[in-house]
């Protein structure tokens, strides 16, 4: 297998348009993601964040425009497919399903194992190893519905990591998780990023918290509004354009403080 050249952009999205039925979801979106970036993708509900992630994954085919992931079109990744790890929105998961933590992580390897072949001992060891890394190995036999939201998140991170990916796509990873766990999760993600040399794209509508951890922010509301380090996004006032209203920001610096953006002409 040819090694990935690290200086290139991992993801190239070029003037992509997506319609869902007759509604325009993505309008002329272009985005390049370089190796090792930590990109936060924010925007209002229905702004197309999940759709953009699905375009990168090859689950949604753009009506116009071009997408390249690891140098291939997302539908034709072939052997490079394991290089992508994906964490779907948690409300898409059936938590009652009779699957254990280990079952779920093993599923992450099924695509690599190939049809008609049972999982090998190596697959199992890799799954346990990843569970060890996320601190969930003791609960490997537990049914997934019998975990806390934070633990569930770790299991699905483990599933995303079990193929040794280079690109991690996370769709609303902290939804439904309490604030303390959220902070821990972001820190953990930062550690993983350094340790495994990951490139991360994280979707969130919690723009204030996300801005403390990501290196770049992109705001999406049909259009991709900006693509810059978080401070620049806040300074440029483009958030207002995305959300169409005043935005209250809570930033975590050394001293947590609240920044309330004012309307133009206001006191």
């Amino acid at each position: 297998m040819r090694l990935w050249v690290s200086s290139m952009d991992i993801v190239k999205v070029e003037s992509v348009w997506v319609y869902c039925r007759d509604n325009l979801v993505l309008k002329d979106v272009s985005l390049n993601i370089g190796t090792g970036e930590f990109l936060g993708l924010i925007g209002p509900n229905g702004g197309g964040k999940t759709t953009l992630v699905k375009v990168i994954l090859g689950l949604v085919r753009p009506d116009k425009g071009r997408v390249e992931v690891f140098g291939s079109s997302p539908e034709r990744l072939g052997k490079k497919r394991p290089l992508i790890g994906y964490l779907p929105q948690r409300n898409l998961i059936d938590w009652e399903f009779p699957a254990s933590v280990l079952d779920v992580v093993m599923m992450g390897r099924y695509g690599q194992i190939g049809v008609l072949k049972p999982p090998s001992r190596e697959d199992r060891e890799k799954a346990l190893q990843v569970l060890e890394r996320v601190g969930m190995v003791d609960l490997a036999q537990r049914q997934i519905g019998q975990l806390s939201a934070g633990q569930q998140q770790r299991v699905f991170i483990a599933r995303a990591l079990v193929t040794s990916p280079k690109l991690l796509l996370l769709d609303e990873p902290v939804a439904g998780v309490d604030a303390a766990t959220q902070d821990k999760f972001y820190q953990f993600l930062g550690e993983l990023k350094e340790e495994l040399g990951l490139t991360i794209v994280m979707v969130s509508h919690d723009l204030a918290v996300i801005s403390n951890y990501v290196e770049k922010l992109a705001c999406l509301n049909q259009n991709l509004h900006i693509h810059a380090p978080p401070e620049e996004v806040f300074a440029s006032g483009s958030l207002k354009k995305v959300y169409g209203c005043e935005v209250e920001l809570l930033t975590h610096g050394l001293v947590p403080h609240r920044v309330v953006e004012k309307h133009k002409g206001g006191s």
Binding site: R81, P98, S100, D103, M107, G111, V115, Q143, Q146
Partner: protein
């Protein structure tokens, strides 16, 4: 028991075990993947297939097999396209194929006595060629499930993620529809077109009350399916009741007990005792 001296009763018993077990295996996917309505839709469409067989003077089951497969794949195709919601698509196919069946019955002039057996099942009239068909196709269905066990497991849990992993998800979805359609046709002789979807759903739903493990759920479901089939058959014979309906009602009672005593819920009777 002396009732087993009759060959028809021996055949009925073997059929009850085979069909009860087969429906219970396929039913696990139907319950977990929330496909119960698809099952009902496909089974009712079998009415169109069976009556077409009568009209053409051919073996009704032989005609129903391609007919049901076509309907199953059509439902899958329409819902995959996403232009019409899946349940709407099923509702349309469900009713139109039954309407077609009614027209076929009319054209083939007069009321056909056999029809009642296909609608409500007639396990006592299972012939040895029926039995061989059930055994052969049934083993085929089970064999395919064993071969693609991990893929079907993944698909049932998380279709989108399976697709991201590079599995041919659409192909497996159609495969699952095919297996469901075949299972339904094989079961029609036993419980009938109207009741077959119950046999697909109830054992798996009952098994789900007792386990958090997929394989255990499968085994329990098979056990419940076989017990319902055999107990229902014997009970119907003793009490002189319709066998298909008795099998379904026995399964329903088992489900009721499993639901009431499920360890997954806080048990009312434990609290009442404390």
């Amino acid at each position: 028991m002396d009732i087993f001296q009759y060959v028809f009763m021996q055949r009925a018993l073997v059929t009850a075990v085979l069909v009860g077990g087969l429906c219970a295996v396929v039913g696990v996917y139907i319950v977990l993947k929330r496909m119960a309505f698809i099952g009902a839709g496909i089974s009712h469409s079998a009415f169109g297939g069976v009556t077409l067989g009568f009209l053409l003077g051919l073996n009704p089951v032989a005609v129903a097999i391609p007919f049901c497969l076509a309907v199953a794949l059509a439902i899958g195709w329409v819902s995959q396209r996403g232009r019409i919601p899946e349940d709407t698509a099923i509702g349309i196919f469900f009713a139109s194929t039954m309407a077609l069946g009614v027209i076929f019955v009319g054209i083939s002039r007069g009321y056909n006595v056999d029809l009642f057996g296909y609608l409500f099942g007639s396990i006592l009239s299972v012939s040895s060629s029926d039995l061989w068909l059930i055994l052969g196709l049934g083993l085929g269905v089970i064999g395919i499930i064993v071969l693609f066990f991990k893929e079907l497991f993944f698909l049932s849990f998380d279709e989108e993620m399976a697709k991201v992993s590079g599995l041919p998800v659409t192909g497996f979805y159609y495969l699952l529809l095919t297996l469901i359609a075949l299972t339904i046709i094989l079961s029609i002789k036993i419980v009938g077109i109207i009741l077959v979807s119950a046999l697909l759903v109830i054992p798996a739903a009952a098994a789900f009350q007792f386990t958090h493990n997929f394989r255990t759920m499968m085994l329990l479901s098979v056990l419940i399916g076989i017990v319902s089939g055999v107990a229902g058959l014997l009970l119907s014979y003793q009490l002189d009741l319709a066998s298909g309906a008795t099998i379904v009602l026995v399964a329903t009672v088992i489900f009721g007990l499993c639901f009431a005593f499920s360890p997954k819920r806080r048990r009312w009777w434990v609290r009442a005792v404390q």
